[in-house]
Subunit: 322 residues, 2 copies
């Protein structure tokens, strides 16, 4: 391997799919005539908000946990996350009946802490800095010998996330493009591989918040530009790209569109009102991009992977007078 | 028929199902392990909030409109409603390409007016009283010769609404009970017939808001007690029972449970948070009843028909500090 980055193959993705199938939902694909009219495209929404733990992250985490050999698994798994990956890993570990350690900042929302505890994971609190988080994780791993399962920069995670697009391509023929949000790049890199391996013509287009456009800038510069002081409502899209993810994305993605939060919020409300499903802001940046107008996509058949639905319903980002 | 009330037969319901199948969704049945834990029952949610126009009402309205003969249909259809039946009838008329007249109170929310207009219906505004509404409807019908399609007190409507339970019984075996909300009684009476005709053992249990408990009182008195000054957040459950509906319900329903709005709101939030789907308060009175504790239903397999998802997302009925 001599320093080269090895991408998951189609066989890896198929194996991941077989591994996770008993434990995750085959999520539905939904459409809305009125959203099609408003956007000017035919949109097929792959509803990963209806996935186990409310996000596509269940796919990668279950694949990683189910890939561990018996001896490795016994000692459990660990990660640092206060988001959907934490819940996903806790869920996956509970399926296999192994210990799960989640490092979380002390200021994590109580609802997220309880969701993770609900799956039986042990939580290690740390100060809310990257350094404290990494230190706490190292301490946990060296004490317990648990296997670290990263949130996106890992071939098992990428292969798992790729299965969402595989299902979408099976269910909807002749897509012109598929769109995903991009944060760390797990979903986007998996989708790039799925498109490359199974579809000759589908373009992969990513969307990210203007206030957290490190993936856009990374692609432009040809190297990973870290996310610094991100400012966006999309709390799932704050992180920097992973190495494996960037390597895949930079070879395959058609473009990365930067989207204003106002458009994402408009998209979020449209999806909730017309499709009657609950989505988190990070999931809506893709439709937000279409609402801002992507001329080459007008009249096209577009798959959108709705990444998750974990949102605080008492803090929806619109504020009409009651 | 000498004054007797004739109930739709199983053949009527099957014919309705064939008639509407091309035009409505076969809605999914969803489950949630965490809601099961909280409620103590195994609940199967039939998601009519994901139905066309966001409510089961599409079934009855499409059946009624598609049942009209060619000559009758030409002159169009009419009703008075500011709720889901208005949208459903407008949708059904648009499918058949015939005129649709909807009488609405002047103070109807703009969003509902626009939803109906979106399907191409003509709106006749009237003063917000029952008398003004009926007068306006009579005027429209006598001027246009349009066919009046009532919201619930009609065998075509009841046969259409019955198809939701038919699908639920096909998809989920061995239910002990099926629960629906009760307003005018269209969904409940259709569900009673579906249960009677196709399932020997399933009990039909209705739920209604304590602040609009006319169906409960009607059942107790053995005659229709009109709904007077209802006071509830469940804006779809304010009306009095229809004659046909009461006749069916009073022969078949196991019981009608009265539910406090606080329980309904708790149920609504649970459904939105755990199932990641958008529901209106009226749809949640059934789970609200289970949260209040129905001892005989503990450990049982219960189907719940989630009636609709048309809710103003800027006015969700919880008010945590932002």
């Amino acid at each position: 391997m001599s320093g080269d980055i090895v991408h998951p193959t189609l066989e890896h993705i198929r194996a991941a799919h077989d591994r996770i199938r008993p434990h995750v939902h085959r999520t539905p694909v939904m459409t809305s005539g009125s959203i099609d009219s408003i956007s000017g495209s035919s949109i097929f929404f792959k509803c990963e908000n209806l996935q186990k733990v409310g996000a596509f992250k269940a796919r990668g985490a279950v694949n990683a946990v189910m890939s561990l050999n018996e001896n490795g698994a016994k000692k459990g798994v660990a990660t640092h996350s206060s988001g959907n990956h934490a819940q996903a890993l806790a869920y996956a570990a509970s399926l296999r009946g192994i210990p799960c350690h989640i490092v979380m900042p002390r200021n994590a929302p109580l609802v997220k802490v309880e969701a993770v505890r609900g799956y039986g994971a042990r939580i290690v609190f740390c100060e809310p800095t990257l350094a404290a988080r990494e230190e706490a994780l190292e301490e946990v791993v060296s004490r317990t010998k648990a296997a670290f399962i990263p949130p996106y920069d890992d071939p098992r995670i990428v292969a798992g996330q790729a299965t969402a697009a595989i299902e979408l391509f099976e269910d909807v023929q002749d897509l012109d493009a598929v769109m995903t949000p991009v944060g760390g790049g797990g979903l986007l890199s998996g989708t790039c591989l799925a498109a490359k391996y199974t579809s000759k013509r589908v373009a992969v287009i990513a969307a990210e918040p203007s206030g957290a456009d490190d993936a856009y800038r990374s692609l432009a510069r040809g190297r990973i530009v870290p996310s610094e002081d991100p400012n966006t409502i999309c709390d799932g899209l704050l992180t920097s790209l992973g190495k494996l993810n960037f390597d895949i994305i930079s070879r395959s993605v058609s473009r990365i569109v930067r989207v204003e939060d106002a458009s994402t919020i408009k998209a979020m409300r449209l999806i909730m009102e017309r499709l009657k499903i609950v989505v988190e802001p990070s999931a809506c940046v893709t439709l937000g991009a279409l609402l801002e107008g992507q001329e080459d996509l007008l009249g096209k058949r577009i798959g959108i992977i709705l990444s998750g639905g974990n949102v605080d319903l008492s803090k929806l980002p619109w504020n009409d007078p009651r």
